[in-house]
């Protein structure tokens, strides 16, 4: 397999960044990591995952959909879309890589969302295999192997070298673009690292979490469960879980009068928010119980019902560590589990 010494990783980043915009996870002063536009000398974070997910690259928190010019009774629609430039996101974990295929199912089904597709077409996702999964990880529950991540190209580290392999043409093009820095390498040590990681995966506290009780055919059974009251009783109704979630994709559309015209924006929204379903003449989900239930039913029942059984969760564990009251999909699954 092709490899580059970890010491020379900076050279690889420099070479990539010379041609296209490169984003890598890097550490913040508070210890958390986030994706940043690469600048020479920037260090790749050693953290398992970024605080915010990687969905921003394709579905940003806020984006301009269109502009309007209003003059008297006339309206002019201005298409503000621009062809995206090519970019590379490096170091995406297997969970986040899978989240893109989940977002694809929503945004690339007819009618295709051209804003999302534009970024997807121009973005190359280079993933990074995990070697140190943590207690909040449960990607295995959703059939994800963090030692064999998806993405256009995948990377592995054995502690000394970074190995890289293409998963498709786009990934191959990426490798070709830096091939002068790569050489053939022996994967014996890497195989050991992978085996060790797999052993740890089996020992994770959530290793046995199962999706067996969930899916599209369990709709009414779970919807009518008495457990929701207890599960949602201390929910603050904030949007933390939604906004750190790599698969949550609900959005709002909102216009602003800039004084020189109208800008129409799309921005992340949360089904946990009290105004999410509010209409001029009422609200179909008036209680936090209903809103809380909607979020988890969507991931565990409604989404699989519409997507051949695929769940709307990738087990990244962000909501587990970020929910202010530590209520999360794992606790919901365990409570609703049919034993």
């Amino acid at each position: 397999m092709l490899k580059i010494s970890l010491e020379n990783l900076g050279k690889l980043f420099d070479a990539v960044a010379e041609k296209q915009t490169l984003y890598i996870p890097t550490d913040r002063e508070d210890g958390a990591s986030e994706y940043k536009k690469y600048e020479s000398g920037m260090k790749l974070s050693k953290n398992l995952n970024t605080l915010r997910s990687a969905k921003d690259f394709f579905f940003p928190q806020t984006e301009n959909l269109a502009d309007f010019k209003m003059e008297g009774k006339k309206i002019e629609v201005i298409d503000v879309r621009k062809e995206s430039e090519d970019f590379v996101v490096f170091g995406v974990r297997a969970c986040d890589a899978r989240s893109f295929t989940i977002l694809d199912k929503v945004f690339l089904c007819e009618p295709v969302d051209s804003y999302y597709k534009n970024r997807r077409d121009h973005g190359t996702v280079v993933t990074m295999a995990c070697t140190k999964p943590t207690e909040t990880c449960f990607c295995g529950t959703f059939g994800i192997d963090p030692t064999a991540p998806e993405g256009d190209a995948a990377c592995w580290s054995d502690g000394e070298n970074l190995f890289i392999q293409a998963n498709n043409e786009k990934g191959q093009a990426f490798i070709d673009s830096v091939s002068s820095l790569l050489e053939d390498g022996d994967t014996a040590k890497l195989d050991e690292v992978k085996a060790k990681t797999k052993e740890i995966l089996g020992k994770l506290p959530l290793a046995n979490l199962s999706t067996e009780s969930f899916g599209g055919d369990k709709l009414m059974e779970h919807f009518n469960s008495e457990k929701w009251a207890e599960l949602s009783e201390s929910c603050l109704g904030c949007g933390t879980c939604t906004f750190v979630c790599p698969t949550c994709q609900c959005y709002d559309i909102k216009d602003f009068d800039t004084g020189h015209g109208i800008k129409r924006f799309r921005c992340w929204d949360s089904c946990m928010y009290s105004d999410f379903t509010k209409m001029a003449h009422g609200n179909i989900r008036n209680s936090q119980l209903e809103r809380f239930r909607q979020r988890f039913m969507h991931k565990l029942v409604y989404f699989p019902s519409n997507n051949n059984g695929e769940f709307g969760c990738v087990g990244c564990g962000r909501c587990l560590s970020k929910c202010p009251i530590s209520m999360n999909i794992v606790k919901v699954m365990k409570a609703l589990e049919v034993k």
Partner: protein, 281 residues
Amino acid sequence: MNTNDTLIPRIGVVTDIRTDTPDVKTFRVNAIQADGTVGGKVFEHMPGQCAMLSIPGVGEGMFSITSSPTNKEFMEFSIKKCGCLTSWLHAMEVGQQITIRGPYGNHFPVETDLKGKDLLFIAGGIGLAPLRSVINYVRDNRANYGDVQIIYGSRSKDDLVDYQEILDEWMNDDGVEVNLTIDREQEGWDGHVGFVPNYVKELNPSLSKTVLICGPPIMIKFTLAGLKELGFTETQVYTTMELRMKCAVGKCGRCNIGDKYVCKDGPVFRFDQLDELPDEY
């Protein structure tokens, strides 16, 4: 970018405004043709489908297309004033441009399940708006359908939407029976007085009819119960729903109920299909 995106709307011109009731106006919308002239429709649709109308800076909302697809000259929207956007629309003058995108959602199965059937339309208040599209489609394709009965009720005579069209056209059609009712006695009204659900039971329509119903949730609830008492089954009753929508293409998540998106999988549902959904509408 040269691909179209459904979220980028087109322009429609309001070419006629009719005041139907104290709080309902019907707006006629035409397209701007390539040569700059105003005329024709912005897009084609099927009865029951919706469009997103917007005044940029005020808001965007989903509205049922009230006119029939058989009308080749224009589209119409009957809109009740109930919020920020609808208030703005009500204040418009002829010639005002609006943005429009669509058509969205499914439609009443006029070319399949409803074909050849005797049809019973039950509407309350502004609920006539989505059904008017079907009624006029059926009237224009008369040979394809059996008897048509329309039971329509409102708070008062002044609140009956499209009253003039009902009197001048629908009531004069062969094979179309129109039963109007208002909630309370009113001077100058010698027709039926009473709520729609009770009136339906009184009229005791034939069980062979396929029913299309639209109105306030409480009216739908009691009418459906009454129909069941009469012996109708849920598989022969259709309705159309209204929920908060933003994208209208099943992506923004707002109108999601169970595994359905009302904007995409609806707004038209048969009652047996609604039974399979959580009770959140």
